[in-house]
């Protein structure tokens, strides 16, 4: 059927990316567990990766994908360090609730 053979417009991928990004921001705002907040950040990063890949397809430009590659690397490093910080915070505060961690000094 022609419906099934239909191509997917790039703008739909971008739209999906926007939705995922917004959901990530919402999660960043409403979640009360520190680790979950961090996960929302990862979601945002992924959404951006999706839009990069979509544009790379659009303009037939491989550098878009290379950028995604680098984003992945940095996100991995950031996840490692961030989780280590969360562990340290947990050790100091014995809580993972974002609202309880309201003093700057550990």
């Amino acid at each position: 059927m022609s419906f099934l053979q239909h191509d997917v417009p790039i703008s739909w991928y971008l739209f999906l990316s926007a939705v995922l990004f917004s959901l990530g921001v919402v999660g960043f705002l409403i979640k009360r567990n520190l680790i979950t907040v961090f996960m929302s950040i990862e979601l945002m990063l992924n959404a951006v990766n999706l839009s990069f890949v979509a544009f790379a397809y659009q303009w037939h430009e491989v550098r878009g994908q290379i950028f995604v590659f680098f984003v992945m690397m940095v996100a991995a490093a950031e996840a490692a360090v961030g989780l280590a910080i969360i562990i340290a915070v947990f050790r100091a505060r014995s809580t993972l609730a974002v609202d309880r961690i309201d003093l700057m000094k550990l």
């Binding site: 417009p9 960043f28 609202d99 961690i101 309201d102 700057m104």
Partner: protein
Amino acid sequence: MNESAHLWLIPLFPFLGFLLNGILGSRLPRRLVSAIGVLAPLVSLVVVLGDFGATVISAASSCPTCGQVTALALPASESLSYPWLAIGALHVDFTFVLDQLSAVMLLVVTGVGFLIHVYSVGYMKDEPGYARYFSFLNLFLFFMSVLVLAGNFLLMFVGWEGVGLASYLLIGFYFSRTSAADAGKKAFIVNRIGDFGFLIGIFLVLTTFSTLSFSKIAALLAVSPDWHGPVLTVICLCLLVGAAGKSAQLPLYVWLPDAMEGPTPVSALIHAATMVTAGVYMIARTHLLFDRSPVALWTVAIVGAATALFAATIGLVQNDIKRVLAYSTISQLGYMFMACGVAAYSAAIFHLVMHAFFKALLFLAAGSVIHAMGGEQDLRRMGGLRTKMPVTFWTMTAAVVAIAGFPPFAGFFSKDPILYAAFLQGTGGKLLWLVGLITALLTSFYMFRLWYLAFFGEPRSEVKHHHSTQLSMLVPLVILGILSVCGGWIGIERFSAYLAPVAAAHRPLPTGNPFLEAILSIVAVLVALEGWLIADKYYRRKPERPAAIAAALPTGYKVLLNKYYVDEIYGALIVKPLLAFSKFGLGGVDILLAGVAWLFAGIASITGMILQRWQSGNLRSYAAWLAAGAAAVLIFVLLSNGWLHLGFAVGWKGWPLR
């Protein structure tokens, strides 16, 4: 001849002296300070003498046959001009003019000034602030010479203000004494009131003549000889206010007795010989304007005569030696104003010069007495100094006799022409003459009273400094004494002839006859003699009588002793309301400022309270603000790039399905 290039040397050296002593003086040795302080007026004096001699010689050579100095072929003036202000229609230059009038005045200023500088070396020997004293004294000389040499109103006003400043600085020289500081302020403020009148006069001159230069005004007046408008009267009255402030006439004389708080040489120089005569000089300088306004002239004469009598009555009972001399100065200045008021300008200037001699001498001798008595100024505690201070005694005698007006001393030759010129002016003039005569009687009386109290009788307290006064103090006394004796021998005729081109009256004076003049002179001398005899009776032969008379007329005595309570009246009428008003205004200003400060503080603190809530430490609120900021930045960027149009809700077409 272009010799006028050296006129600026006259003020220059005192100014340099002021700078050197003012800035470096405290670090220089005393001798160097004295040398700088004394050399400055000396150089100016030499320059002035050179110029004066040149004018005299050129005048004499222009008329070798007549034995008199005629003024026909003299150069009208040497002037030195430097462009200063050129604003629209106003053109004012730095113009120094040396004509006969300013030459005479400069001789007095630099000559007597030099002598007083020398005297000060000895008098101020033990004072701290020595260098400051000499620098201020030189500053005064600088401004006074600027005032005298000025060729236009504005430059004269600069000198006018400057001498007021120097006077303030010197009156308040002993600034640690509240009375001295207050006296300095009083002098400056009362002077200011006079200066206000002077300024109004200058503004009116500017609008009437479109120029401030004396020579140009003279030229304009010469073009229209019949101009006697009311504008000229108003100008002259305003100038009179200024002169009255500077020369301590009614009602602005109140600062001069208080100015005696300054060191005695300052009183001699500034408040006897030079600064207070600036008013007389100014009237003589602008006499062309005054000649055109009989009303103004009469006002000047009445003010002068009234002041003379008024001050003389106060001087009768004062007990401070310097106060007596201060009121005497005010009285003699009244004489000079009276002379200007009857258009006898040369007589006024002549009396100015003579007065400078004997009044400066009186003050310096009084200073010598005070110095010897260890700072004692009360006449009731002096006495019997005749034998202990011979030089001072004899020079002071010369001065007292001169001021009383006995021939052949200086005062006689200068006071009589004034009285004579007043007598000739109709019935009003005769009244002025009578007032002048009574004042002469009173003057003679209180001067001899001072003489007797200080030098005769039994010593009422100990003389502190038995050593003879120093040479630097004695030599000026002697020189001034000689001048007081012989100064008048120049004669008023020669003097008037010399000054004629600049100080002759505009309208012809009524001529009298020499017989009348002689009679009037004899009357004046007799009156002065009477004054002496009265003083002799009450203060030498029966010294207990004055106290009895004072007891018999208690109110009269108290009123005179308290200077007619003028200071108190001024205080109640003017000073207190002004203070109350300024407190009220200040209170308002305080409230305004406090309100503004409170407003700003309030804004700051409220902003702080609002912003404080942001720093909650709450991660989620930080996150929320982060998101909000990111959204705002994004929207802004997109809006400014035109990618986003605010009407998007309208143009939304739904899903672009193809």
